[in-house]
Amino acid sequence: MNKRKPDLFAVVNGLVMLLFTLACIYPFYYVLIVSLNDPLDAQRGGLYLWVRSFSFENYKAIFQTSELLNAYQITLFRVIVGSVLHLLLTAMFAFALTKKHFVFRRFLTWWMLIPMYFSGGLIPTYVVMDMLGLVNNVMVYVLPHLLATFHILILRTFLNELPAALEESAVIDGASDFSLFWRIVVPLSTPVLATVALFIGVFHWNDWFSGFTYMTSEDLWTAQNVLLKIIQTNEASNIASISKMDAGFKATVTAESVKMAMLVITTVPVIVVYPFLQKYFVKGMMLGSVKG
């Protein structure tokens, strides 16, 4: 924070930090250039700084593979439906909890806090999901993530700090809790709702655990699940060979290069919202750590 004249320490420190920054960004850049390079040319190696022979073949191969398209569709489904419902229910629940006169306020506050410290663990949860018919059901991506105690707490803190006068005047005008919620609370909490939307959106996009745990049918996997399988096995070579057949037995893509393109497609949405992400996540992390 304090201004000092540049000295040896500052120069060395600056260089070290620059190296660190490079280590954070370069891996992503590297994957990007390999994915955009002609796959057969990429096999020669030596691709470090820029694309040598530009080509969209890898991306074409992905968009021609129905399994992958299907997986991305399921990911989009859970990001959109899962996040919207999560936001709605979180806002409703937090709103009810901030009303001091609400009869179940104390009970519900404990009701949501206890699961923060105790949980049944993986297998009992699985048994419950199985009993509910959620195994091999896309709703398993949405229903178990409809609410999160941490997000309710963030919203509750925000709502508690809203000036009471706004709601009071609406109540005097005869507004019900329902219209209070929709006309006053929701519009006023857009900034904090945006924060929660980013949290849950990124969670839904990145989560591979649900698909892996609850889906035995690979048709119901998300992009992360397919990607994980491709990374851990040689699945990508199947896509490469499918696309080979399409091209009349002339190899156009390789397993490695398709993998790189999938990594890019799965990373890009996160990078696109990154400017917002970093701002709101930092804020949210602070909130969380202050509240404990």
Partner: protein, 301 residues
């Protein structure tokens, strides 16, 4: 009744939340009983035979479990001992950057990897460390450090260093945020005064910066220490492969394997493992918090 009727909207708003926690949090908590049962799927949670602590006894005799427990503690401890101080140092170094935009730039890029999933991180590092055309091997060979490409991901001894490195790569920037924030709360006048007294940069860090964030360091250390039995499920599952499975198996992944591979046979034992892990976690949390109080720092309870 009239009061309830007047609060009908509040009740309606809270009802989905009530049901949500009931079904997805409290039902599974009840499911814990299967760790005391010889769980039979046809009899279900309610009618399976109770066997007392038999499952727990079996657990401690299992080589798999003991290996996973050892790995879990080893990996967590390594992360705590090596990466936690590294994160504090990183925060201190960022704090020493005097050019505003450059500090912001370093900080912002440092937590980019935090936001991608471990699936992506694993995919990227598998590629970077691969033997045919991986950048790391190419670089090390061309610098003459290695004679021929080294198969990083298939080497038992290289696995833990890789785990530590990728963990630092992915999470260090984000974990540093909290320290950087508390560093920025230190009064600039303290540094001015120290400079007047002729304190050099290292003395300033040692006598002003570090004491200034001591409470935060203690608090974060406790939070991290109480997660000793959580060694990073996502990372272990995505970064490991058959060659290093013996090293990569931690409690979380073992439970997952019991669920996926052993089928119904593994339910009772797997649940017992989960309970063991949660119980020790709770004990650790309480002990650590007590220690923190003893050290007269802020308490989190």
């Amino acid at each position: 009744m009239n009061k309830l009727y007047r609060q009908k909207w509040l009740i309606a708003f809270a009802l989905p939340g009530f049901l949500f926690f009931l079904v997805f949090s409290y039902f599974p908590m009840y499911g814990i009983v299967i760790s005391f049962q010889d769980f039979d799927v046809f009899k279900g949670v309610f009618r399976s035979d109770f066997v007392g602590f038999d499952n727990f006894k079996t657990l401690f005799d299992m080589p798999d479990f003991n290996n996973a427990l050892r790995n879990t503690i080893l990996i967590s401890a390594l992360k705590l001992i090596l990466l936690f101080p590294a994160t504090v140092v990183f925060a201190l170094l960022i704090n020493e950057i005097s050019t505003g935009w450059f500090r912001k730039f370093v900080q912002t890029t440092s937590y980019l990897p935090y936001f991608v999933s471990w699936v992506i991180a694993a995919g990227i590092w598998y590629k970077l460390l691969s033997i045919d055309g991986g950048v790391v091997n190419d670089l090390l060979v061309s610098l003459g450090i290695l004679k021929e490409p080294f198969h990083f991901m298939a080497d038992k001894d290289a696995f833990y260093p890789i785990i530590l490195f990728t963990e630092a790569w992915k999470n260090m920037g984000f974990s540093a945020i909290i320290f950087i924030a508390s560093l920025s709360a230190i009064d600039v006048q303290q540094y001015e005064a120290a400079k007047m007294d002729g304190a050099n940069r290292f003395r300033q860090i040692w006598h002003i910066s570090l004491p200034g964030i001591k409470n935060t360091i203690v608090l974060m250390f406790i939070l991290n220490a109480s997660n000793l039995l959580r060694a990073g499920q996502d990372q272990m599952w995505t970064m490991s492969n058959v060659t290093v499975q013996q090293q990569a198996e931690i409690l979380d992944t073992l439970v997952l394997r019991y669920l996926k591979d052993m089928g119904l046979m593994g339910y009772s034992i797997g649940t017992a493992m989960g309970i063991f892990q949660a119980f020790i976690g709770l004990v650790l949390f309480i002990v650590c918090n007590y220690l923190a109080k003893a050290a007269k720092s802020d308490s989190i309870l």
